[in-house]
């Protein structure tokens, strides 16, 4: 188990990076706006995963004090609480952004009757 822990951190981080890349690739290549929104949320998830993986310290536990983690030993027993706080913020903001994007997609469809990004060429140059 102990030998695997560093691998687990690297695996989580690699998964996060792959999700980011996958999401960006989707945003760049998909023609359907709804699919672009889905791809965007994929890369948001990837970013969160990478930040959480950076904050993880091997063989330590969650930053909550209890009988297992008394205050005196806290700094030797817990992982970095800051990335967790950041990701909590990022998840909530991500949800707000996703709702906003979906509302815009609805509006675009309502006005233009299409979800194909190629047909929305006003801002093309």
């Amino acid at each position: 188990m102990d030998a695997l822990s560093p691998l687990a951190v690297h695996a989580a981080m690699a998964t996060g990076f792959l999700l980011i890349l996958l999401g960006f690739y989707g945003v760049l290549t998909q023609r359907n706006i709804l699919r672009m929104v889905v791809a965007f949320t994929l890369s948001t998830t990837g970013v969160n995963l990478v930040i959480i993986a950076i904050g993880y310290t091997l063989r330590r536990t969650a930053p909550i004090l209890d009988e297992a983690v008394p205050l005196a030993e806290a700094s030797a027993r817990i992982i970095d609480p800051l990335p967790q706080a950041l990701v909590l913020t990022a998840i909530v903001i991500g949800l707000g952004i996703t709702a906003l994007m979906l509302a815009y997609v609805y509006k675009i469809y309502q006005v233009r009757r299409t979800l194909d990004i190629g047909k929305l060429s006003e801002l093309k140059w």
């Binding site: 990076f17 890349l21 960006f24 706080a85 998840i91 609805y106």
Partner: protein, 233 residues
Amino acid sequence: MIKRLLALLLIGGLGGVFLLLWLDFTPPTELNEVARYYAEQSAPDLGTVNITTAIIVTYRGLDTLGEVTVLFLSAAVVGMVLVRGRRRTAATAEGLVSGGELLASGSRLLVPLILLLGVYIFVNGHLTPGGGFQGGAILASAVLLMLLADPTRRFSHRLITLVESSTGLSYVLLGVVGIVLAGGFLDTRILPLGEFGTLFSAGAIPLIYSLIGLKVGAEFASMLANLSETEAL
């Protein structure tokens, strides 16, 4: 085809950057200085069991206020963008499939329990893993369940707005009280720290996190209500 190739090139470059970062990364074995400060000082300073909560509500309280503001803005813009599509007429409501007997009965049983769980999670935010944002999302999931069971159900926008604005205002007012009675804006030591590890402890943190929970719940509920009230295209 050339576009896809360009996209692949871009992704390849970004992937290369990520690969370098990934190969160079060694998991830390010690906490850095900031994290050690939080680990050692948050319990004596603020009386919280959950250190992440101490960071979110107090140490970086201003960030959280900003976060709640961003959430409010996005909920407001969703409402604004969809406002013309609102007021589904009875004719379009006909086409909606109702959730069915199972979902309707199940939601009557589950909604109070889900609301209770949400309140439990944000009230205990300083003691257990959880807090205002998680609890608020759970509150909103009860609203979602009600909408799934009966898509024609309407929620009082006035009530949602009232909860949203009153909790937001009290949050800011509590922050201002911190300037007067304690160390600065959003300082939670305006109430006694109490006994470590009990429900009524950690100063104003449970109060602020409950306000955040209600606000986030109302925010998400208003987004869901707005989305469900738009007419089918």
